[in-house]
Symmetry: C2
Subunit: 229 residues, 2 copies
Amino acid sequence: MAAMANKAQRAPRRTEALSRDVIVQAAVAILDAEGEEALTLRALTVRLATGYGAIYHHVADRDDLLGAAADHVIGRVVADIGGVADPREALRAVAMGLFDAIAAHPWVGAQLTREPWRPALLDVYESVSANLHALDVPERAVPDSAGALVNYILGVAGQNAANARALAASKLDRETFLANVAARWAQLDPVRYPAMHKAGRHLREHDDREQFLAGIDLILAGIAAVNHT
Amino acid sequence: MAAMANKAQRAPRRTEALSRDVIVQAAVAILDAEGEEALTLRALTVRLATGYGAIYHHVADRDDLLGAAADHVIGRVVADIGGVADPREALRAVAMGLFDAIAAHPWVGAQLTREPWRPALLDVYESVSANLHALDVPERAVPDSAGALVNYILGVAGQNAANARALAASKLDRETFLANVAARWAQLDPVRYPAMHKAGRHLREHDDREQFLAGIDLILAGIAAVNHT
DNA sequence: AGAACTTTGGATCGTCGCTCCAATCATGCT
DNA sequence: AGCATGATTGGAGCGACGATCCAAAGTTCT
């Protein structure tokens, strides 16, 4: 019996699983600290004090690694939410969770738009669909409604990632960067671009997070309106 | 007089403007024919039978070129629409125009999510804002509403681009590729992933374009519902 | 005609993702 | 115990990329 227990203990795969996880964590650390394009295979070998072979043994290629890193971050978000009872609040919680995660790790936004259908996004899609179902949305209207919500979230995610890239590339602090953007918009011809011109003058009072949530509520209102006319 | 007419003809800038345009058109041709990653500077020098210096003289860098190519395609879409009177129909026309353009040139979708705030997107934003205004959406609700629409469009754009990339990478024809996706989804655990599991079995009857338009109508309904409760 | 400037082609650089292989290490078998 | 088999590692090297740079060719103005 003891012999059989030892046999079961050998667990040769643990090293691999452990190592892939270590690599993914290192990748997330680099991505968070220095951004998307700083994640090079060379940087990884330096940080992990290893060679290419070791990394490529656990990871298929750079895209695989980026995807795994995104799953790592998004997975936590979805897991952290489960317990919200009211479906409407649950939907807002999922959306806000994703928004906050992407605000904290902008590279995730870019990765999500580059590769939707990652495992982590499947959970998001399921969660949204389930909550819509709980909101009494008719079965056949669920896919379109869920698609609207998820695509909106992905759109905002991409935009946040792009903004973060631009901010990083400018090497300015957030304040002056936003001031520059506002100035450029305010300079637009107010006849040809009235809305953008105006937006340039109100950018100071603008809150991305609030606007995002307003969009979610708008879509939820639309779902409600369409379904019990 | 003839001499002065000749003098006026010199037009030293025409060569530059013409050349930048030629380069952008060549880039679009390559992108359409072989996809995003086939647009290398080397491929461009071959196609244009020139060297790096000539290209870099007219174009800042690869990103500049990609952006200009996207503007080139999107610009036509916005220009082609102007004449729709009914604001609701105009909004749908803008959205469908973008959708069709991105379906025809998937790389544009990726570029749009990577670099929003391109000139071409400003026109889109303006058009959407103006039409919302015409729909009697209150002034202060316009930015949020326009943001919801544009971000949704960008989300779908990114997704289309990702799907096109996956399709191209698989080297399968569209039919069997979709069948594979459907099969993979249908294989998902129907308890943990009921919605995706079900979607896998109905993918055949699914029309991206219809679903996209349904999302637009959903958001428009939400805008209407929120604003005259 | 010649000076000043623009435009062009291509050699070259540094970096990237990735492959490949020799070495090291762990494991199971006899 | 000792060997063999396979997993794991480090790093040299490859081809391709974006980008720079400069000498040659062309153009425009004096």
